[in-house]
Every structure is written in structure tokens, then in C-alpha cells.
């Protein structure tokens, strides 16, 4: 449009999408939340050798309200499933989910009564990481894939108004 020629030097033009996505993709804060063996590799990813800080993701937040990314690092039992769903619902949009390891992706070695065969039965998953456990490098690669996805999203997509939950759905009373 030739707009660039009109603005003074030192000013860049860009689209809102790309500047917001740039910010999101470079500071995705994961939820401090470990389930099973895979969590040990997640912690290893967070420490000095693998250094997830390169992705701006070193800040593991314990509160779901402050986190953008849920790394489901381990097997999800029937007892844990409602809790995970609740935590996911508590996270503010935009939010993403990585299913780390075969257990979180599809149940893995635990094809039995106790374990949910894939966390995608209860929450939507953006990236699946194979491995039992995935090496830290795999998790970093998953972060790469997630960043690619984040960059391709449109800001508007996350602004769809969600139906607010009724109070008794959030916190069942009585009984």
C-alpha cells in the first residue's frame, strides 16, 4: 500500500496477528504439573543441560491461571481425569496442550482398568510426543511444533465467547 513510505524512520509495520503470536510463541509458560515418569524428563528439560529457557518457557507456573501450556507428562488415571479437566478449564485462553509420552497420548503400556487411554478423551491436544518417556530433545521438538502452530493461529480464533458455566457446574454443592 506504500504505507511504509509515509511513516517516519524507526517505525515498523506488521499485522496484529504476527506481533501477538510472536509474543505468545516466545513466552509460553507451562503449568508446573507432573504426573508420572515423563515428568522426570520434563524436569530434565527444564534444567541446565536441555535448558527450556531458550524457548522462553522456563517459568513453570504452579497456578493454572498464569499458565499457557499444559504438558500432560504421564499416565492419566480415572481418578485423576476430572482433576486434569478442571485444571484445564481453569487455564485462561489462549492455552495449549502437549500430550507427553505414549501414556498421555494413547494409554501406552497401561491398557487396563485404571488408565484413560489418551488424555485427548478429556481435553483437546495440540501436540503428541511419542516415547516412553520421550527424551528431553523430543519435548523440545514438540515445543518447536507448538510454536509453529502458535504462529499460524489467528488472534480472533481464541476470542470466541465461551458459554460461562453455571455455578453448580463449577462447584457442585450439597451432598
Amino acid at each position: 500500500m506504500g504505507l511504509e513510505e509515509k511513516v517516519p524512520e524507526g517505525i515498523l509495520t506488521t499485522s496484529l496477528d504476527s506481533v501477538i503470536n510472536w509474543g505468545r510463541a516466545n513466552s509460553t509458560w507451562p503449568l508446573l504439573f507432573g504426573l508420572a515418569c515423563c515428568a522426570m524428563e520434563m524436569i530434565a528439560t527444564g534444567t541446565a543441560r536441555h535448558d527450556i529457557a531458550r524457548y522462553g518457557s522456563e517459568l513453570f507456573r504452579a497456578s493454572p491461571r498464569q499458565a499457557d501450556l499444559m504438558i500432560v507428562s504421564g499416565r492419566v488415571s480415572n481418578k485423576m481425569a476430572p482433576v486434569i479437566k478442571r485444571i484445564y478449564d481453569q487455564m485462561l485462553a489462549p492455552k495449549w496442550v502437549i500430550a507427553m509420552g505414549i501414556c498421555a497420548s494413547a494409554g501406552g503400556p497401561f491398557n487396563n482398568y485404571a488408565i484413560i487411554q489418551g488424555v485427548d478423551k478429556i481435553i483437546p491436544v495440540d501436540v503428541y510426543v511419542p516415547g516412553c518417556p520421550p527424551r528431553p530433545e523430543s519435548l523440545l521438538y514438540a515445543m518447536d511444533l507448538l510454536r509453529a502452530k502458535q504462529r499460524s493461529e489467528s488472534v480472533g480464533e481464541w476470542r470466541k465467547v465461551e458459554e460461562p458455566l453455571a455455578v453448580d457446574e463449577i462447584m457442585p454443592l450439597g451432598a
Binding site: 508446573l32 504439573f33 507432573g34 504426573l35 508420572a36 515418569c37 515428568a39 522426570m40 524428563e41 524436569i43 530434565a44 534444567t47 541446565a48 543441560r49 504452579a62 493454572p64 504421564g74 499416565r75 488415571s77 480415572n78 481418578k79 485423576m80 481425569a81 476430572p82 482433576v83 486434569i84 479437566k85 478442571r86 485444571i87 494409554g107 503400556p109 497401561f110 491398557n111 487396563n112 482398568y113 485404571a114 488408565i115 487411554q117 485427548d120 478423551k121 478429556i122 481435553i123 483437546p124 491436544v125 495440540d126 516412553c132 518417556p133 527424551r135 457442585p172 450439597g174 451432598a175
Partner: protein, 616 residues
């Protein structure tokens, strides 16, 4: 729509494995006698069904009515002095040729530390009529040994045996509305049929990644014994310092803790049931995933149990390699404990996490060198180890051992003398020796209360008798004492490792018994016989003679025990894991009473739990 939790029956579960005639069979009666069994028989006479030795363990089968009297006698009799009830489990024998015998049996493991004796007691359960079939029941031992409380709840939850006189018989692992008792033999394994024939037009793919089911929370209710007069605080299952998915319901009066009710089972993965549906050798891979911080020790504990039942000799070199791996794993586990403990207590102290994981990564690198995996190693197999150590391993390990003691001193310099650290740990989480014994605590929790016991030294396995090392103990019984013990244990492990690498013998790295251990890969190309053995082992596995056996090893967290009941087939009929974290966590209520909420975090770290093992 509530989450569909009812287990499905899969078609292949009904298929029978190929069994020779006469199998499945009941375990034979114990034979012979020892001083202890003679003493028990004298006292109880007719009420002892059988007593003697079975698979090298002392076993007593007792009439259910006399169980409690027997337990009291075992504890109080001066020539017996069985101070601790290590483990309670049960067997559902409904798939065995019972011939009118009782279907359910409960199995108890007693230990005398002062006399270094181990005794297995088995009792048949009586039955009461219930709504859906008969309900097995037996006397509870909680009045004799406090530590029986949780194991009995676990047996009730998973096997459905009621314990008469138990103060608090609730489900412990499964959700409270769970429809069955999963370890009963008629309960299906559950899970889903694995679809081997997906094509892209399969309807499953349409919903992939978006299959959101509502997962309804159950309404939390107040644990029994807690009062609404006090403040009740919920900690977990999603909490940064519970080391995983542990939920604690804490009752507080002002700043002080009145009681704690731990809610477990958020990571219950059905290990035992899965193990009963796998061939013996296939369960090794699952043991990694139980206590995922000490995978090697778990492998070792399981393999030793099965090898003992088979009567298998392990070559010298394999034994030493196993010791090397187990001790490295102990250091790695303690390093991780140290890092998270400091992080939990300080809240922000990330630096020790970074330092300790630096050394831990070196150990993981060594594991990777030996077997290609960092965490879930499955390196120790039945009959030996998976493959020989690579050439560079020993020099790398020596290199590591040279720097490690200095690093431990570095960590010590960072925290041991720090006044804040001492203030947060000294006198916190105190437990006396008698309480530790009656609660069945093991490992550093026991040694921290002045009981000088280490299975590696006192009931040696894998050739530990050949190594020189000290067992650190502390009389203080508090978190600081346990902290010092673990640091010293790392030093002792380094010492054992130094002796082991210097005396690493040459020879076989796994047993030559081709009926049990796989032939080396190279042999398959040249030997028809090796190929046949390989095929047999991979398709059918090996059979273990009918019987049962309990074996415990000293894990980094305490006594890790495996109880296996074999019916003679190629799969364990009953497989029970005694996880040290489970029993040690029981103490959290006792040691935290009267302390502050922030001390609970210290106590959890000091008990050193891994939820994969607590919940199994």
C-alpha cells in the same frame, strides 16, 4: 454424561495360555521346621495348619481365628520379637483347583530386626453372605501393628476383603464409587481393544484430538474423624511440592496441624493386575515405571524374586554389574531427592536443582551408554543383564566417581550448616524408633530413628556381602537426621562403586540357562537351537514351579519387596509389590501433628515419596 469407567472385557483375555497338564496348581505346603516355627507350633498347636520352610522363607499357615493372637505373640514373645509387619497382601485363588478350600487368603510378612528373621504368615479368609455374593473377611491387625492400617485398606480396596476391627476401612486407591474390586480374578483387566487396522477413513480419526468428555469431579467430603470446627485445607493433587499427584486433606487448628488424611490413587495404574496378565519376563519393563527414580533397583528386586523361585544361578560379572547399576541409581535418586527437597523447603532455591541434576545427567548418560535409555532402563533382566557393558563405560564411571565425593561436599557446603536450613529441618517430622517399627517404615525413615538396619548388609543379595560400606543411622528421628543419612548414603554408594569397578570380573553377563535367559543375538544366526530357545521364550516364556515367595531389597527409599504366587504357568498368578514410599507415607499424619502447614512440605520431602510407587 459421566465418564464411562466400567471396564470392558476383551476377547483375548478369555484365551488360555498353553499349560502342561496339572497346571494351574495350588502352592505346596511348607516343609521342614525352624526354631521359630517350632516355637509357634508349640504355642498354638492345632491352630497352626502348617509351618516350615517354603522357597527358603519361613512360612506359617494359621487358622483365621487365631491370626490376631499369633501376631501379638510374634510381637511380644521375647524369643521371637517380630517388631515389624512389613507387608499385607492377599491372593484370590478362585482360578486354582481349590477342592473346597477357602478362596481368599491374606499374606503377611513379619520381620524381626533384632534377630534378623523373616516370617510369612498366611491365613484363609472366612466369608459372610453379602448382596452380590459372599464377602470375605478376616481380623484386622491394626491393633497389634499400626502399620497394618494402609496395607489392609489397600487389600480391601483392590481385593474386597473386609478387615474386622479396622478403624477406617475405606477405599484407598480407587475412586470411592468404583464398581468392583479390580484384583479379584473375575474382574476384567479392562482397557481398550487395540485397533491394529486403522485406515484414514476410520470414523475414530474424525474426532481425534477433540474427543472431549466431561469428567465430573466427585464431591469431596470430610474424611472421617475431622471436625468442621477446625479449618480444613486441601493440598493437591495438583500442588508443586507434593512430588506428584498426592492429595492431602489437612485439618488445622489455627496454625497447628490437627490431623492429615492423605488421599492416594491419583496415579493408580493397575501394575499388579497388568503383571498377572503378562509373562514373567514381560513385567520387568513395568517395574521401571513404578518408582521411576530408581528403575534399576526395581528391575533388580523383581528379577531377584523370580530368579530365586527358579533357583537360577547368576554369573559373577552380572552380579557386579547389577550392584554398580543399583548403586548408581541410588545416587541418582538421592540427588533428585536433594534437589527437590531444597526446592520445596526454600520455595525458590533453584540452584541446587541445577547442580544436582548436572551430576544426575552424568549418571543417566552412563545408563544410556549401557542400555540406550535414560530413565526407563529395563537393563537388569531375569538371568543377568540385557547386554554387556560397553568398553568405555568403566573409564567413564571412574571419571564420575573421582568428582562425585567433591560434589557431595559442595552440596553440603551449600545447605548443611546454613542456619535457615537447620531451622526448617531440626526437630521437624520427629518419629521415635518404636513408632517407626510399629508403622512398618523402612529405609532412611527407619535408620533416621536409630534402627540400624540395611538389607544390603543384613540380608545380603547380589553379592553385597563382598563390599565394605557403612550404614549411616541417626538417633534424632527428625528431617535433619534423615537429610544427613541420605547424604552419607551417597558417599557410601560411591565407596561401593569404587570397589565394584576395581573388581569387575570378566565372564558371562547373563545366565547360560537358555530356558530362561535369551541367547545372545549373534548366536541366532548360527545356531538352530538358539533360535528355538529364542522363539520359545518370546512366545511362551518360562514356567515357574507352583509356590510363592517374598523378597525385599534395599531401594533408595526403603525396602522394595515383591510377592509372587505362581500356579506353575508362564504368568504370575498373583504379583504384589511392596513399595517403600507407600508405607513410609503412612507416617505423614503422625509426624506432622502439631506442626505448621509449611512443615508438611518439609516432611513430604523428607519421606522421599514417588507417587508411581505409592499408587502403583
Amino acid at each position: 454424561m459421566p465418564l464411562d469407567v466400567a471396564p470392558v472385557v476383551r476377547s483375548y483375555e478369555t484365551q488360555r495360555t498353553l499349560n502342561p497338564p496339572g497346571i494351574p496348581a495350588l502352592a505346596p505346603m511348607p516343609t521342614g521346621e525352624t526354631d521359630d516355627t517350632r516355637r509357634i507350633c508349640e504355642q498354638f498347636g492345632e491352630d497352626i495348619v502348617a509351618a516350615g520352610l517354603h522357597n527358603g522363607n519361613q512360612v506359617v499357615l494359621v487358622e483365621p481365628g487365631q491370626l490376631k493372637a499369633l501376631a501379638t505373640f510374634l510381637r511380644d514373645e521375647p524369643d521371637l520379637k517380630y517388631e515389624t509387619l512389613i507387608d499385607v497382601t492377599s491372593v484370590d485363588r478362585s482360578r486354582l483347583p481349590l477342592d473346597g478350600e477357602a478362596r481368599f487368603q491374606t499374606v503377611y510378612q513379619f520381620r524381626s530386626y533384632s534377630r534378623n528373621q523373616h516370617l510369612t504368615v498366611i491365613a484363609d479368609c472366612g466369608t459372610d453372605p453379602g448382596d452380590n455374593g459372599e464377602i470375605p473377611h478376616i481380623d484386622s491387625l491394626t491393633g497389634v501393628y499400626r502399620g497394618a492400617e494402609w496395607p489392609e485398606r489397600e487389600v480391601y480396596d483392590l481385593m474386597g476383603i473386609r478387615f474386622d476391627g479396622h478403624p477406617d476401612l475405606r477405599r484407598i486407591l480407587m475412586p470411592k464409587n468404583w464398581p468392583n474390586h479390580p484384583l479379584q480374578k473375575q474382574a476384567p483387566l479392562g482397557g481398550e481393544e487395540v485397533p491394529f487396522t486403522f485406515t484414514w477413513d476410520d470414523p475414530e480419526f474424525e474426532t481425534l484430538g477433540s474427543q472431549i468428555l466431561p469428567a465430573e469431579s466427585t464431591v469431596p467430603d470430610l474424611p472421617p474423624g475431622m471436625s468442621r470446627q477446625n479449618m480444613v485445607i486441601n493440598m493437591g493433587p495438583h500442588h508443586p511440592s507434593t512430588h506428584g499427584v498426592l492429595r492431602l486433606v489437612v485439618e488445622m487448628d489455627g496454625e497447628r496441624i490437627v490431623s492429615i488424611d492423605p488421599d492416594l490413587g491419583f496415579l493408580h495404574s493397575g501394575f499388579e493386575k497388568t503383571g498377572e496378565n503378562k509373562r514373567y519376563k514381560d513385567f520387568v519393563y513395568y517395574t521401571d515405571r513404578m518408582d521411576y527414580l530408581s528403575a534399576m533397583s526395581n528391575n533388580l528386586g523383581y528379577c531377584l524374586t523370580i530368579e530365586h523361585m527358579l533357583g537360577l544361578e547368576i554369573p559373577e560379572r552380572a552380579q557386579v554389574i547389577r550392584v554398580i547399576m543399583a548403586e548408581m541409581q541410588r545416587i541418582a535418586s538421592h540427588l533428585f531427592w536433594l534437589a527437590t527437597h531444597v526446592l520445596d523447603v526454600s520455595g525458590t532455591g533453584m540452584s541446587l536443582l541445577m547442580y544436582a541434576t548436572r551430576e544426575r545427567e552424568r549418571i543417566l548418560d552412563l545408563f544410556e551408554m549401557a542400555c540406550g535409555a535414560r530413565l526407563t532402563v529395563s537393563y537388569i533382566r531375569i538371568g543377568g543383564v540385557w547386554q554387556d557393558l560397553p568398553d568405555a563405560f568403566v573409564s567413564e564411571l571412574k571419571d564420575f566417581l573421582r568428582v562425585m565425593p567433591q560434589k557431595i561436599s559442595e552440596y553440603e557446603a551449600m545447605v548443611t550448616e546454613a542456619p535457615l536450613w537447620q531451622e526448617r529441618l531440626t526437630g521437624i517430622g520427629h518419629i521415635s524408633g518404636d513408632d517407626a517399627l510399629s508403622m512398618g517404615l523402612t529405609g532412611p525413615m527407619l535408620r533416621g530413628s536409630g534402627i540400624d538396619w540395611d538389607l544390603r548388609r543384613d540380608r545380603p543379595y547380589s553379592g553385597y556381602e563382598a563390599y565394605e560400606f557403612e550404614v549411616p543411622t541417626s538417633d534424632s528421628g527428625d528431617c535433619y537426621g534423615r537429610f544427613k543419612i541420605r547424604l552419607e548414603e551417597m558417599r557410601q554408594s560411591v565407596r561401593i562403586l569404587e570397589q565394584a569397578v576395581d573388581n569387575l570380573p570378566s565372564g558371562l553377563y547373563k545366565s547360560n540357562n537358555r530356558k530362561v535367559a535369551l541367547p545372545p543375538r549373534a548366536e541366532l544366526d548360527v545356531s538352530m537351537e538358539a533360535l528355538i530357545h529364542h522363539f520359545k521364550l518370546m512366545t511362551e516364556g518360562f514356567h515357574v514351579a507352583p509356590g510363592y515367595f517374598y523378597h525385599g531389597i534395599e531401594n533408595s527409599k526403603g525396602e522394595l519387596g515383591f510377592f509372587v504366587y505362581s500356579d506353575g504357568s508362564a504368568k504370575p498368578y498373583r504379583l504384589h509389590v511392596h513399595g517403600p514410599s507407600f508405607n513410609n507415607l503412612y507416617a505423614i499424619d503422625h509426624i506432622s501433628r502439631g506442626e505448621m502447614l509449611s512443615d508438611v512440605v518439609t516432611n513430604i520431602g523428607s519421606i522421599d515419596i514417588v507417587l508411581g510407587e505409592v499408587d502403583r
